[in-house]
């Protein structure tokens, strides 16, 4: 179908720059994109009949990884060769 109406997962790698050009990068567009992504995540993993721990665990794992990235500069300065 039309390139701009396809989801990111359905776009082939070669068509990626063209798809990015059709994206709406205004603040409303970005917020709408975030909202769409969040609701599609919820509908796929949480709003299901027999949802398990996986839906929430992925969120928690993402949070841990994000916190690690936030802390990285500080953690990288710790040297484990110091005698305790």
């Amino acid at each position: 179908g039309l390139l701009s109406e396809r989801h990111l997962m359905d776009v082939r790698l070669g068509e990626l720059p063209m798809w990015l050009a059709t994206c709406d990068f205004s603040p409303q567009g970005l917020l709408g994109g975030i909202q769409k992504a969040w609701s599609s995540y919820c509908n796929k993993y949480i709003n299901v009949k027999r949802g398990g721990v996986a839906g929430v665990s992925m969120l928690l794992a993402g949070y841990c990884i994000l916190s690690y990235g936030w802390n990285y500069q500080h953690i990288s300065k710790i040297s484990f060769l110091v005698s305790i």
């Binding site: 709003n47 929430v56 949070y63 841990c64 990235g69 040297s79 305790i84």
Partner: protein, 227 residues
């Protein structure tokens, strides 16, 4: 650079944004807003069950006027619960280890209960300063003691939460450092220390939940006296 055990309590900054902001906003993602469906997903059902349990427990001792505090107390409870439990994950930051945040929560809420009591029923509120049946010579001393205990309540609320969580996190960091340091030298002692670490983590999960509950429970008790 030396490893300082208190470094975990300073909020790290990335591009000028502190991590505490992320830690305060993230629980909102984990708690789905209720929708109008008859049968919800499992996460929403669990959350509704927990909220009903908490609200029932908190609202039973309060009279009708006290029920206006339901939203405040329940949302406070959910926030503290999620923040404390999320702080046990690796590399995360716990905002409730900061005394400033806990005092900012405790002081206004305690003051609100006190002012409600003093405004609506001043004699009863002041009457709480003297327990029934005290011998007459003891009355002046007891009034001073009760006033001190009243004024120290917000400090106690804030510091209790801070101290419990900070102590727990510090203990976890210390024992895990010991385990890692002992591993090349004495593996058996290291395994024993790892067992201690496992028990400590279970304790910390319990403490996280209990401390949130105690905070809100004490506030509701102060409310009962004054409403």
């Amino acid at each position: 650079m030396n490893l300082s055990f208190f470094d975990q309590f300073s909020s790290p900054y990335l591009l000028g944004i502190p991590l505490i902001l992320l830690s305060l906003l993230f629980p909102a993602l984990l708690l789905p807003s209720p929708n109008n469906r008859w049968v919800n997903n499992r996460l929403s059902t669990l959350q509704s069950w927990l909220l009903h349990l908490i609200t029932k427990q908190l609202m039973i001792p309060l009279n009708k006027t006290g029920h206006k505090w339901a939203l405040m107390l329940t949302s406070l409870m959910m926030m503290l619960l999620t923040i404390n439990l999320l702080g046990l994950l690796p590399y995360t930051f716990t905002p409730t280890t900061q005394l400033s945040m806990n005092m900012a929560l405790a002081f206004p809420l305690w003051l609100a209960t006190l002012l409600t009591g003093l405004r609506n029923q001043p004699s009863t509120s002041l009457g709480h300063l003297l327990p029934e049946g005290t011998p007459t010579p003891l009355i002046p001393a007891l009034i001073i003691i009760e006033t001190t205990s009243l004024l120290i309540r917000p400090l106690a609320l804030g510091v209790r939460l801070t101290a419990n969580l900070t102590a727990g996190h510090l203990l976890i960091q210390l024992i895990s450092t010991a385990t890692t340091a002992l591993l090349p030298m004495m593996p058996t002692v290291s395994i024993l220390t790892a067992l201690v670490l496992l028990m400590l983590t279970i304790l910390e999960v319990a403490v996280a939940m209990i401390q949130a509950y105690v905070f809100v429970l004490l506030l509701s008790l102060y409310l009962q006296e004054n409403i």
